[in-house]
């Protein structure tokens, strides 16, 4: 397990400042009065410090740390059982941590009950009140705060417009489609301008097209209102398309935190590499070398070069390369190049996936390498068994320590 926490927290401090400067949205919201107890116009800064949860023998969340900047869209991404929902529930106040603290704008909120935390929350199953209509569902947090009637009306209308449900105000919540229920849940969670909105796999139950539509919409609303969002998902595309930063969780720990591009391109370990999308991980022996570039010797004796992800010494290792970064060309001659890795192989399989052609290419004595080719004009699939040459820039690949 790679867990460079001290280094990472420094990294967040820098990140937080830049995010603060980049967000003009706080001014937009500054005019709106928010009576929420922990509220500030815009979003709150959230810090998780050594947060831990155990159920019996099992440590579900293991001393995780993260700093979320005001107005940041921060995702917890991981497979089921990785502890991401438990983490969210600890921030919401529904699960009591066994260790560590949650700080909101520097204040420890351990003693604050969920209903006093003032966060918005969107649940996976929407949790729409079935006996209330759309308007009353959205008005619920305002009525619970004993707002004046005309203020409630104004704010709910605003929220309805935001999620494009104005026409459905009087509709029974039970009569809504999944997507509409999702919008009601979203409107209800933001109508009182919470400084932090927690979302627990909010799009998990929607079909693919609707999911994409809602991703865009949620992201737009979040940016417009400048709210801080802590988002839990197991869908890596969703996390990448919406997040400012992603924390990849595995076995109760955060393996890596970073902007989508960074975690996708430079995973710290094979798990992160695989979890964020198709990845080739080619086994071999790392040969230490001065400088940033190391060599990896395959079982066939061939050598590949790539930057190292950490400064561990020689040993087992893996070369990480995304399928779309590999060029494939018919031919047999693999001549060495100074800035690229070149390998010869044979086409084992070619799958047509619509926008891409996905090749599996056999190498000598190694598992097949996956290569994605954009389905452009004039691209014809290569026949099975055809000899091909694979080529990718050294800088696009990475050598990872061979654990995980």
């Amino acid at each position: 397990m790679v867990g460079p926490e001290p280094r990472e927290s420094q990294f967040h401090m820098v990140e937080m400042d830049t995010v603060l400067e980049q967000r003009p949205t706080r001014a937009v919201v500054a005019g709106l009065v928010t009576p929420a107890p922990i509220a500030r116009a815009g979003g709150s800064a959230i810090e998780l410090r050594g947060l831990t949860k155990r159920y019996g023998e099992e440590t579900v969340v293991d001393t995780i740390a993260a700093s979320i900047a005001p107005g940041e869209f921060f995702s917890l991404l991981g497979p089921s059982g990785s502890g991401k929902t438990t983490t969210l529930m600890m921030v919401a106040g529904f699960v009591h941590p066994d260790g560590g603290t949650v700080l909101v704008d520097g204040r420890d909120i351990a003693a604050v009950p969920p209903q006093k935390r003032g966060f918005g929350m969107v649940f996976q199953n929407y949790a729409i009140f079935p006996h209330l209509n759309v308007f009353e569902n959205i008005a619920f947090p305002l009525r619970a705060r004993h707002w004046a009637k005309d203020m409630i009306e104004a704010r709910v209308s605003w929220a309805l417009e935001l999620v494009q449900l104005t026409r459905f105000a009087d509709r029974d919540a039970r009569q809504l489609s999944g997507g509409q229920q999702q919008r009601v849940a979203l409107a209800r969670a933001i109508v009182f301008h919470p400084p932090l909105v927690l979302m627990d796999e909010p799009l998990g139950a929607l079909d693919k097209n609707l999911r994409f539509e809602m991703q865009v919409e949620i992201k737009e609303i979040q940016q417009r209102l400048g709210m801080t969002v802590l988002y839990v998902t197991h869908d890596q595309e969703e996390a990448m398309s919406m997040s400012d930063r992603i924390a990849i969780m595995n076995h109760g720990r955060i393996d890596q935190v970073g902007p989508p591009g960074e975690v996708y391109e430079r995973p710290v370990n094979p798990f992160v590499g695989r979890f964020l999308g198709e990845a080739n991980l080619i086994d071999g022996t790392v040969i230490a070398e001065g400088g940033d570039i190391a060599r990896l010797r395959l079982s066939s004796g061939q050598e590949l070069r790539a930057p190292r992800s950490n400064s561990r010494g020689p040993g087992r290792g893996m070369l990480f390369i995304r399928p779309e970064r590999v060029e494939i060309a018919p031919g047999t001659v693999a001549s060495a190049e100074p800035s690229a890795n070149v390998l010869a192989g044979r086409v084992r399989r070619c799958s047509f996936l619509g926008n891409i052609l996905r090749y599996a290419v056999d190498l000598d004595g190694a598992p097949p390498v996956t290569v994605d080719l954009q389905n452009a004009a004039g691209v014809a699939p290569l026949p099975v068994g055809a000899p091909v040459v694979l080529r990718w820039p050294v800088a696009d690949s990475l050598i990872l320590a061979g654990d995980g």
Partner: protein, 294 residues
């Protein structure tokens, strides 16, 4: 899909194979007809056909009976007692049912057992047990007098109070189990959602939990009320001379006065009221499904 296309599709579809599962209901249905429906119908038919007199005389007698002081008093008493019992049982049963839906472990088993166990005991045994407890020299009065809280034994039995205590006890399980079923159907994430939206515990209860449990409250109340208006043994054993309920009046008409037409007529009114209430109950069960309770 529109209705037109639906019916067209139904017409075009080949005839579905006959559903034979209904045959499984045959023994139960036969038993109901032979042992419940037939005697009931015979009772009414024979009573009314054996009446020797004109139709006008019959109507006169019926009116006299249904407007008689004894009948009207019994009607009022029955409904009043049923109402109080229903309210009492609801007030006691609601917290119990709520506890059962939230708690886990040994506590639940103990509560369920203590609610269900009396079910397996004869109602007469249970009523006599109460008489042992509530009598003039019963356990409760002995303790009260011995502790000096009261000077003379309290009249806990052979009056309205005794009837209410006995009936509430017997009917409590019906309320608890009905409420429990309704409360189990309430999605717990709704309560979390309410809390996350800033609602206090009492606000969540009155605005979310109670409205969602309302179908259960109504069903439970109706079941208890329906059972109450037909109650006989408990008021007969634990009541006083002012606690005559309709069922007791019917019994007297049959056993003492041997006045079958009066008994039949009173039974019929009781049956009609029960059926009307049952229709309401059925509607509510339907509403519960509509609300989306699982």
């Amino acid at each position: 899909m529109t209705v037109a296309t639906l019916t067209a599709a139904a017409r075009a579809a080949p005839r579905a194979p006959r559903d034979r599962t209904l045959l499984l209901m045959l023994p139960a249905g036969a038993m109901l007809v032979v042992m419940f429906l037939a005697p009931l119908v015979l009772f009414f038919v024979r009573t009314f056909t054996e009446f020797d007199g004109t139709a006008a005389e019959f109507i006169d007698q019926a009116r006299d009976l249904l407007l008689s002081q004894a009948y009207l008093t019994a009607l009022g008493t029955t409904n009043w007692i049923s109402l109080i019992v229903t309210a009492t049982v609801l007030l006691i049963g609601y917290p119990i049912a709520y506890y059962l839906t939230t708690a886990t472990g040994i506590g639940v088993r103990i509560v369920v057992l203590s609610i269900v166990l009396p079910y397996f005991t004869s109602i007469i045994v249970r009523t006599f047990s109460w008489m042992v407890l509530l009598g003039e020299h019963g356990l409760v009065n002995n303790v009260l007098v011995a502790s000096g809280l009261v000077n003379h034994p309290l009249p806990l039995m052979y009056n309205r109070l005794g009837v209410l205590i006995g009936m509430s006890y017997v009917l409590l399980p019906y309320m608890v189990l009905t409420l429990y079923a309704a409360m189990r159907a309430i999605d717990p994430s709704l309560l979390r959602a309410a809390a996350s939206l800033g609602a206090s515990g009492s606000y969540t209860f009155w605005r979310v939990y109670f409205p969602l449990s309302l179908p259960g409250v109504l069903s439970g109340a109706l079941i208890v009320y329906i059972l109450s208006i037909g109650f006989f043994i408990t008021p007969a054993l634990m009541g006083g001379q002012h606690d005559i309920m309709i069922a007791m009046l019917i019994d007297r008409a049959l056993e003492v006065a041997v006045d079958w037409p009066s008994a039949a007529l009173m039974s019929l009114t009781l049956l009609v009221v029960t059926l009307v209430l049952y229709t309401v109950y059925y509607r509510i069960a339907d509403i519960r499904r509509l609300i989306g309770a699982r």
